[in-house]
Amino acid sequence: MTPVDLHPSRRQFLTLMGTAAAAAAARFDARPAFAQGPPVKIGVLAIRAGIAAPVGAAGLRATEWWAERVNKAGGILGRPVQLVVEEESNPKDTVERYRKLVLQDQVEVVLGGISTGVTLALGPVAEDLATPWLSWDGTTQKGVEETMPSPKWAFKSVDNEVEAIVAGILTPKYFKGIKTVAGIGNDYSYGHDCWESYQAVLKRYLPDVKFVLELFPKLGVTDFTSHIAAIQQSKADLLMCSFWSGDATIIMKQAAAVGLFKTMKGVFTTAGGVHDSLKKEFTPEGLLLGYNTMYFDDPKASALLKQFVREYKAKYNEYPPYECDHAYFDAESYKAAVEKAAGAARRWPEKAQVVKALEGIEVESLSGRRSWREDHVQMCSFYQGITTHKNSYDFVTISPVEVVSTKQAMKPAGAKLFDWIGSWKI
């Protein structure tokens, strides 16, 4: 199948004409290289409602920022990028929209997917429809184990539990003498898996540590008063929390109200997802806080990240979270793979050639160099550190910043998670 249709429909013809007109106008504007060919349609699945809407919005904003830059620089092999955005919701509806993107909109690639509950269903559909799918944040894991070890078309996010593993590695470094630990996470696969993984890792470093309490409130709860009372009662030395949305802010606020972290250490594996809502008034210094794969205030930030943060703040009055990095990386790696597969002839490649080129490819993303592992899993670095008030914002940031690679903190292709953790030489 030739991806560039030589017999366009009326709608495609109008789009072509529009693009040609825009290109002509651009020439009169004497702008630099403007995309010439027919647009390359890129499908995007973004959560736009519910608890994960902020994460979905961040991914979509970064994709739009990328598309704008790419189009200004001449598109991909001279073809302007055209995003076709659909909603990620429940697995059934999202699968239908995925089919629509591929079969009706005839996109070249689909980017996006955040909830593993959804992407677990998308993986096999991507294989059936023979169109590359690059997930932002969703995996095809059932629990902590992989269900699609050798996909052809599906490219998955980092394993869900990596941030908990990174936190488990860093906990003994920053919190000496920890003997008892309480845990709280959302009552679904991610919350439970993070807690299990964190315990397994911490046990390797601190064999005598005791896990005295585990709480799993459902996603979306806005009152943790009773949970915090139970955590206080447990008298644990440390609280591990894997909340990543508004509930991270709420528990921080309600914990501060009863002085929880005056006597207890705290590890928030992914609360960097809502980092600019963790105000200094109620978020203490000295907690271990994870930002997933991108830290907006990285002292070693690249020029690309600095520009992105600056423009994101100017446009949305917020500082970008990690989902932007996943989304940017997916889009940028697709572009690089198309260009690589096109070769010197610069002929638009078949989808299968693009997929082959994606395997092992490395590109510059917002957070730095990132790549696709041969088994189609994202490789990157995780940013965690100790909360500090010494900054110019009204929310906490981290210092020092610890950067841990997925080469260290993610199970290798084909490995069983707990066997792999058990095999570490410590």
């Binding site: 409602a49 919005a57 979306g220 009372a229 139970a230 109200a257 008034e281």
Partner: protein, 264 residues
């Protein structure tokens, strides 16, 4: 009184929360003293209740005489629309009120640390409950409300303008919801879907307490709140299960709830 099963009460609560966040932010920007933040917060919460007139006059009045299923569907549609409207106005990210929660400090009570703001909210709830009780039992408007709830046609025959009464009662109920949302916001964060969670809990409260009973709602809320806390401390896995087990027991053994009026 209106015999409407209003699912949108949760959305009014969420609206109050968002309006409260904005009011407090505006107040802080205007240089208002932090100790008085609760005043603009409560006023904004009450003012947001004005949306009740719009919903009642614009939508609900058309379904008073229809089947309850219509009313449920209509108010559920309002829930979904409000969720989207909140997201469009305030954006998808959770909104919160910085550190105002701790403005009034903390107290040590029976070995526990309690934020003074929580005590203010508890006191405000009691004042509101007593005021509503006084309104219902000691004022002419309260007597009209009770009479209309008992027999709408008779009340109308005696010259009561039911359109005005319904609009007032519904707006009052809406204002209580929006005020509740505003008052809770310093301790939490506003999220567009927070209304749904409240509806589910409110359902348990009214089933246990008894539909149409104020005393029942008060006791039902206490039962649900205390049981949740005990379950979380003793056996966290039972938190939700325990509450809905009681809901089922009440529905089977005492369908009118603890304080509900017996069916005619």
């Amino acid at each position: 009184m209106q015999k409407i099963f209003n699912l949108a009460c949760g959305s009014f609560y969420a609206l109050g929360a968002y309006v409260g966040v904005s009011a407090v932010a505006w107040y802080a920007d205007a240089g208002g003293p932090p100790a008085l933040f609760v005043v603009p917060l409560a006023l904004a919460g009450l003012a947001a209740g004005a949306v009740g007139v719009v919903v009642e006059r614009g939508l609900l009045r058309f379904v008073y005489d229809r089947d309850e299923t219509f009313q449920l569907l209509l108010t559920f549609a309002v829930v979904l629309m409000m969720e989207d409207a909140l997201r469009m106005i305030w954006g998808p990210s959770p909104r919160s009120t910085s550190g105002l929660y701790l403005t009034y400090g903390q107290l040590q009570l029976l070995g526990a640390t309690v934020p003074v703001y929580n005590l203010i909210v508890i006191a405000a709830s009691l004042v509101i409950a007593l005021s509503i009780g006084w309104l219902l039992t000691r004022t002419a408007f309260g007597r009209i409300m009770r009479a209309a709830a008992d027999n709408r046609e008779m009340a109308e025959a005696l010259g009561v303008d039911m359109r005005r009464v319904y609009a007032k009662v519904f707006t009052l109920g809406t204002a209580l919801g929006t005020l509740g949302g505003a008052l809770v916001i310093p301790a939490t964060a506003a999220m567009s879907e927070m209304g749904i969670e409240l509806i589910v809990e409110a359902f348990a409260v009214v089933v246990i307490g008894g539909l149409g009973s104020m005393r029942g709602a008060f006791v039902g809320a206490l039962v649900v709140g205390v049981l949740r806390s005990i379950a979380i401390s003793v056996y966290p896995e039972l938190e939700m299960l325990l509450i809905y087990l009681i809901v089922i027991v009440v529905l089977v053994l005492r369908p009118r709830g603890l304080f509900g009026a017996a069916a005619a």
